[in-house]
Every structure is written in structure tokens, then in C-alpha cells.
């Protein structure tokens, strides 16, 4: 009885703020349904890594996905540092294999777009996922941002922009951020050439550094039937 009253109060609160508010479960469901229209896809793109110690070129990449949870990110040529947790670039993986309790966490704004915030708590205690927060565009049922906290791989954040493939819930731009651990080689191991140009002044605060990976995607080939061999 008490919970019902509380729920009522909360609801009243929401309706006061936004009259077009939907039930969060329905909204997440709609977003999920949009994504799940895609049974497989492949896409090409560019991946730019912004991590202070990593000086690597923009990589040309290929993404592959197949229902329910096959995913692969590869570099077309050369070496590539593929961020761990890149699985979650593919939003399907958030939903598959996990049962959630969805909690409505209110409203927010991402670049002028009003969004609803939903917190997904996995019901399975052994899941690596601790918490996923989704920021959903309630008009187009698109997830514009997600924040995932895992037991093993820390917290990472995704920001997505949709253009051509918004119908399928597939982003054109993804910004993947994570806490990058500091990288320190013991001096002397590398016998480096000290050109005198780099001396001191790089003493920075010890707070965890943010790492970012920007992915620009184009040329999605959707629901064309992918061979499973690709994922081996």
C-alpha cells in the first residue's frame, strides 16, 4: 500500500515535469525493439584513439555483428588497439542474455535533445554488468548515451549520434570513453634517445586519465546474412 502511494507521488512528479512522459519500461522496450530489427550487420569506419600514452594512427576498421551476441571489431590493415568493452558499442549486447530491472532515473539533456534516463540492473548476480544507464531519445527511441559499470572492466561510457541509419538504431558516430590506466615503462629498459626536448614539466595529477575512442561508421550492410566464420 505504501509503495503504491510512493509510486503515485513519483508519477505525479513526472507528469508535472513532462506531460509526454512514457512508462520507462515501454520506452526501453521500444528502443530495444528498434535495435533488434537488425539481425546482423557489417560496417566500415574509422577509429581514432585518444589516450595520452598511445600515439597511434586512425585505424580503418570493420564491425561485424550477428544475432544474438556475436560481435567483432577488426582493423582492415595494420595493428590496432581494440578497446576492451568494445562489445558494448553494439547496443544489442546490452540486452541479450541479461534480465534487468529497469529503474526510471528521470530526465536529462544531451546536446539540446531531451532524453529519458533509465537504469538497468541485471537480475543475475553473476553478471559482469553492475549497472547500465541509458539515455534515450523518447521521440525516436534512440539511445544517445550509455554508461556501463562492470565488475572486471571498469566503467565505460558511450555517446552516439545517429544519422542515416537511425531507423535501425545504428549510430554513425560513437564516442567510447573509459578510465585508462597509467602506462609507465621502467626507465633504462628501452635505452632511449634523449633529445633534450621532452624534459620535465609533464608531472601531472595522478587522477585516473580518461581514454577515448572515436568511431565514425559508414556503409552499413544490414540484415544481409553474415557467415559465422567471420567471428572465429
Amino acid at each position: 500500500m505504501k509503495t503504491n502511494i510512493l509510486y503515485l507521488i513519483l508519477l505525479t512528479f513526472f507528469f508535472q515535469k513532462n506531460t509526454s512522459a512514457q512508462d520507462i519500461n515501454i520506452l526501453v522496450g521500444n528502443a530495444r525493439a528498434k535495435i533488434e530489427k537488425v539481425t546482423d550487420y557489417e560496417a566500415t569506419g574509422k577509429m581514432k584513439t585518444n589516450v595520452t600514452f598511445l600515439k597511434i594512427p586512425i585505424a580503418t576498421i570493420k564491425l561485424y555483428f550477428k544475432n544474438p551476441n556475436k560481435f567483432k571489431l577488426i582493423s582492415e590493415k595494420g595493428l590496432s588497439f581494440v578497446p576492451k568493452g568494445s562489445m558494448s558499442i553494439n547496443l544489442n549486447t546490452i540486452f541479450t542474455g541479461n534480465n534487468f530491472i529497469i529503474i526510471d532515473a528521470g530526465f536529462d539533456k544531451i546536446e539540446k535533445t531531451n532524453v529519458r534516463v533509465a537504469k538497468l540492473l541485471p537480475t543475475d548476480e553473476n553478471s559482469d554488468l553492475v549497472l547500465t544507464t541509458l539515455y534515450i531519445d523518447p521521440v525516436n527511441f534512440l539511445i544517445l548515451k550509455s554508461k556501463t559499470t562492470t565488475k572486471e572492466n571498469g566503467t565505460y561510457e558511450l555517446k552516439m549520434k545517429y544519422k542515416k541509419y537511425s531507423l535501425y538504431g545504428l549510430p554513425d558516430e560513437i564516442l567510447f570513453s573509459f578510465n585508462a590506466k597509467d602506462y609507465k615503462l621502467p626507465k633504462g629498459i628501452t635505452f632511449d634517445f634523449d633529445d633534450g626536448a621532452s624534459n620535465k614539466k609533464t608531472i601531472k595529477s595522478e587522477k585516473p586519465k580518461k581514454g577515448e575512442v572515436e568511431i565514425l561508421l559508414s556503409n552499413y550492410i544490414i540484415n544481409n546474412g553474415l557467415n559465422d566464420n567471420i567471428f572465429k
Binding site: K48, N50, V51, T52, F53, L54, K55, I56, P57, I58, G78, L79, S80, F81, V82, P83, K84, N153, F178, A180, K181, D182, Y183, K184, L185, K187, G188, I189, T190, F191, D192, F193, D194, D195, G196, A197, S198, N199, K200, K201, T202, I203, G211
Partner: protein, 297 residues
Amino acid sequence: MLSLLQIELFKISRRPRTYIAFAAITAIVLIFQFAFKSDGQSYMNLMLQNVQDNFELDRSKAINGYFMCYIILNTLLVQVPILVALIAGDAISGEANMGTLRLIMTKPYSRTQILFVKFLASFIFTILLLIWMAILALFLSLYIFGADDMLIFRVKGDESQILQITKDDIMWRYFAAFGYATIALTVIAALGILLSVFAENSIGPIVATVCIVLFFTIVSNINVPIIDKNVKPWLFTSYLVGWKGFFYIGLDAEGQPVKGSIENWPAIRNSLYILIAHIGVFLSIAIYSFRKKDILS
């Protein structure tokens, strides 16, 4: 002068000692290649450390021919001065010890010519040594491990970095690096020749050259600010590793490597000037002393 040089090269080519250097290089390179072929992953793990917590990397692709060559040169170029000293330190003193110096000196050549030819012969030996290294460490590695992008693990000031150079941007850097190494090792050759002028057995100058190089290298790697600032710039050994500068790829404002660029060309150029100046000074002192020397051996 050319025929004198031919004679010098002929003598070097006929001495078993010469081949010790080539054999040593061959052995070291092959051991490296074998070790990395069988367990290169552990080395990669060591270098990547906790980068692996955030990223996945195809380590078998990372251990490729280009990377191998860099690792081998990194280690080998510390030892090659010893091999150059083996020949250069023996140049004059070896002849003195054998008793042939007095015979050479009664031939119709000036002492400057004789010394300079000795130096040239050591220089050519150094080049041949580096070509042999290039064949084994670079081309054989490429054959065994294949070609791919190359990772450079670097400590820059207080920062550690991983640089990635795309595979079509590497070969010219190796040519430049081997060119630089030639100049760097020629400093050792000039030092060896200089010391060899003053001795009548070859062990002394060879050991002295190696000791100077080792001592300076150790001092230049002490990594204490007072030494970094006041001593290091004056030691030629600080510049021996300058070849690596060609692999420190230039970065754009966003920290992306710029293909075909070098981070700090002026520093490399200055190092080259300093090394060439050392060659000039060592050689001048050697020629001056040699011209004045009474041949008593």
C-alpha cells in the same frame, strides 16, 4: 691511396678476427629471432603492461619483422662498438705488435695517408658490419616474421609512450637509422684508431676503447638530473642511440602520428654534428700524434 685501401681491406679480409664480429652478430640475431619466434608474447606482455587492461592487441601481429629489427638493434648497437673496437683498436697497434708497422712506414706514403687509409678501412668494415646486420636483423626478420605496423615503446621524459608507425612508413626510417648508426660507430672507429696510435699491442687500445664506451654509456644512463644536465651532453655515447630518433614519429595537434614525419629532426641533426665533430677531433689528434711518433716497434 686507393691501392693502399685495397691492401688494408685485403688484410682485414684475411684475418680470422674479422669474422668473429660477423659471427657474433649472426649468433645474436639468430638467438633473438629464435627466442621471439618461440616466446615473443611474454616480451610483448612486459612492454604492454596494464595497457592490456584497456585494450586488446593482436600480439602476434605486433611481433613482426620491423619490430624485431628494432628490438635487435636496440640491444645489438650497444655491443657493436666492441666489434668495431676490435678492428679499429688494432689498426696501428696490431701492425706495431706484429712488426710490420716499420715496414709499412718505409713505403712511399705519408703517415697521414697511412692513418687515413686505416681509418677508411675501419669505416668500411663498420659499414659492412651494419649491412650484415641489416640483412639479418631486418630482412631475415621480415622473412621470418612478416611485415606489419610497428610499435615503439618509449620513455620520453617522465612519460611512457607507445608509438605506432604504419608499415609503409618504416623502411626509410631504417635506412636513415642505419645511416646514423654508421656515423655513430665511426666515432668508435676513430677513437679506436686514436688509441691504437699510442700502443704497441692491440689488446690495450681495444680494451681501452671498449672501457671508454662502457664507462660513458653507464654514466649517460645514470638518470640523475645533475648528470643529465651537466655531464650527459658532453659524452658522445649519449648520441649513439640517436638513430632511434628516426622512429619517434611526429605527432599532430591531436596526438596522431603523422606519416613520414620525425618528431625532432633538429635534435637528430645536432647529434649528427656532434658525432661528426668527434670523428674529426679523434682523427685529427690521431694524425697529429702519428705524424710525430717515433716508430720504435
